[in-house]
């Protein structure tokens, strides 16, 4: 296998795991949120995408290009996006069982806001413990033990 074939290992779960871990450490106050606003924002973007369309577009993967088309410089499609959805489904169900999805997502998003912008969203009013449990469950479900 050519060394650059590693490029194809484009696993969306890896980014999600790093994002969730970084935010979890911000909640634990291991990390200074000011240095990790981008991770907080990108986890928010991930949650918004999940809430909006559930990654429906990724339920099928187009066939890999063959022949000269395989030489394209276009980035390869992200893999395992649907596993991301499953992990989010399970984490929300585990921690926010019975609550409407929109409400549960907003609850986590409010925690993200309170960490990134404590001057705008009062930290007392948000449920950090639940958000922490949600992130922990999400990370565990990204790579479930078979």
């Amino acid at each position: 296998m050519p060394i650059m074939a590693a490029h194809n290992q484009n696993d969306a779960r890896g980014s999600a795991r790093v994002l969730a871990t970084t935010v979890k450490r911000c909640i634990e106050e291991d990390y200074a949120p000011t240095r990790h606003k981008s991770a907080l924002n990108n986890l928010y973007r991930l949650l918004e995408a999940y809430r909006a369309h559930h990654f429906v577009e990724f339920e099928y993967q187009p066939r890999s290009p063959r022949g000269p088309e395989a030489l394209t410089l276009l980035p390869p499609p992200e893999r395992n996006v649907l596993e991301l959805r499953t992990a989010l489904d399970r984490a929300f169900d585990h921690v926010y069982h019975g609550r409407p999805l929109d409400e549960a997502v907003e609850s986590v998003e409010n925690v993200l806001r309170s960490i990134a912008y404590p001057e705008k969203v009062a930290p007392e009013g948000v449920d950090r413990e639940r958000a922490y449990a949600f992130l922990k469950s999400f990370i565990e479900n990204l790579y479930p033990v078979r």
């Binding site: 980014s15 790093v18 994002l19 990108n42 369309h53 429906v56 577009e57 276009l74 980035p75």
Partner: protein, 439 residues
């Protein structure tokens, strides 16, 4: 060094700065993450490598973004649509438009977007024009379909499509589930090609996963139609119709797309549902009217020899009674962004644009008043394309009629008609900028 190269002016006027800033931000964040946690685990190292690889691939794509390798006026049209429709909400409450990076790469029309950027602020959407079709703007309207795919994973339109449009399409009928789809395919009135394929296959059940694929592809076709109107349907037929050997053929075991004939029939039905099959010109407009009728016949007619009425009835079961709802719900995406969706042009506009094309001039609305002041008007891209296609189908009679007053008019090739439209869109960019400046 590679990143600094992205700032060169030949990669698009005033466009490469956004791209540079976003890539630089991603690079800085990766660097910071590495500095912050020197003892990171192997999975985190792998993700950092992945982020670096993804960033590297985007920076290297700048080399495919040379002006002159694709139609930049058309890419501007795509950029405007994307920046309008695909705004992304940020944690701080602001909304960010995507960075639309246009390249000439490969042999297909493609749009590739970030799914899950773990670094950076803005989504980078890469629009790839096929290298062999640089200035064929009439064909480029097929990008409307690809924009449909991008819409599906954007938060605003994606939500409407997933929660409103898809249920309307697949709530009933063959797309509802595998059993319904199988029963529909096996109906006695199915086209003979389909029945022959099924006979060869033996026992057969329509794969459940393919239902979703078909739904997505149909919705993306309708999305393209709503953006570019009959010009999209014409490009759809010109490109896909000529590429498929058998318009009914599809892979029974795993298909991403419905057969071409089905897609075309749905587009045709949608054009009729929207009333866009009716010409805006009148018989008094002579050759212009004939040209417009010819376009509408090509884009929306059903008696093309490929299909028969019997097949029409069978195909219509896919969308019967639901198409109006699907289109209405799809139109909600465009409702908040006036001017992004197609609406038929005015009669006088079509006449003027076609007259200009007949005289081998770019189809814009531009004149000089008696006092010497210029009078330029805004022509949407979809109307320019509508005129271009109409002219192409009526070119012989239009030229013949104009030869009396302009005896040296040349016969235009398809490429030349495309180049005139491409040029018109470039002039229109300047007119639009001037109009904005005047306000």
């Amino acid at each position: 060094v590679a990143l600094n190269e992205t700032l060169r002016h030949d990669y698009g006027p005033a466009r490469s700065l956004d791209y540079f800033v976003e890539c630089k931000k991603r690079l800085d964040e990766i660097q910071q993450a590495i500095d912050d946690s020197p003892g990171m685990d192997s999975a985190t190292i792998a993700d950092r490598m992945r982020s670096l690889g993804a960033l590297g691939s985007r920076i290297s794509l700048i080399e495919r973004s040379h002006l002159g390798e694709f139609s930049w006026p058309f890419s501007e049209a795509i950029r405007q649509i994307a920046e309008c429709l695909f705004l992304e909400q940020q944690l701080d409450g602001t909304q960010s438009p995507p960075i639309v990076h246009v390249i000439a790469e490969g042999m297909h029309y493609q749009i590739v977007g970030d799914v899950l950027p773990s670094v950076g602020d803005r989504r980078i959407v890469i629009v790839a024009f096929p290298r062999q079709l640089k200035h064929h703007v009439l064909l480029h309207s097929i990008f409307g379909h690809e924009l449909g795919h991008t819409a599906l994973y954007s938060t605003g339109p994606g939500r409407i499509i997933t929660t409103q449009v898809m249920p309307a399409l697949s709530g009933q009928g063959p797309l509802q589930d595998s059993a319904q789809a199988t029963a529909w395919l096996k109906r006695d009135d199915a086209p003979p090609q389909i029945r022959a394929m099924l006979r060869r296959q033996g026992e057969y059940i329509f794969p459940t996963g393919d239902l979703q694929n078909w739904c997505i592809e149909i919705i993306c076709d309708l999305f393209g139609l709503m953006l570019f109107g009959p010009a999209f349907a014409a490009a759809h037929r010109a490109i896909l119709g000529t590429l498929c050997d058998d318009p009914w053929e599809f892979d029974l075991s795993r298909s991403t797309h419905p057969p071409y004939s089905i897609r075309r029939k749905i587009l045709t039905a949608a054009i009729k549902e929207l009333g866009w099959h009716r010409p805006v010109t009148t018989p008094q407009d002579g050759c212009v009217h004939e040209a417009e009728l010819a376009l509408l016949d090509y884009a929306a007619e059903t008696t093309d020899g490929v299909t028969h009425d019997r097949d029409e009835a069978w195909t219509s079961l896919l969308y019967e009674g639901r198409l109006a709802t699907v289109l209405e719900r799809l139109s909600r995406i465009f409702a908040l962004h006036q001017g992004t969706a197609y609406s038929p042009p005015e009669r006088a506009v079509v006449i003027e644009l076609l007259n200009r094309l007949t005289l081998c001039r770019p189809p814009i609305l531009s004149s000089i008043e008696d006092d010497g002041t210029p009078n330029n008007r805004i022509v949407p891209t979809c109307h320019c394309l509508y005129a271009g296609w109409s002219f192409w189908f009526g070119r012989t009679a239009l030229r013949q009629a104009m030869l009396k007053s302009s005896p040296r008019l040349p016969e235009l090739t398809f490429l030349q008609v495309n180049q005139l439209c491409d040029f018109a869109m470039r002039q229109q960019c300047a007119i639009n900028a001037a109009q904005r400046g005047n306000k």
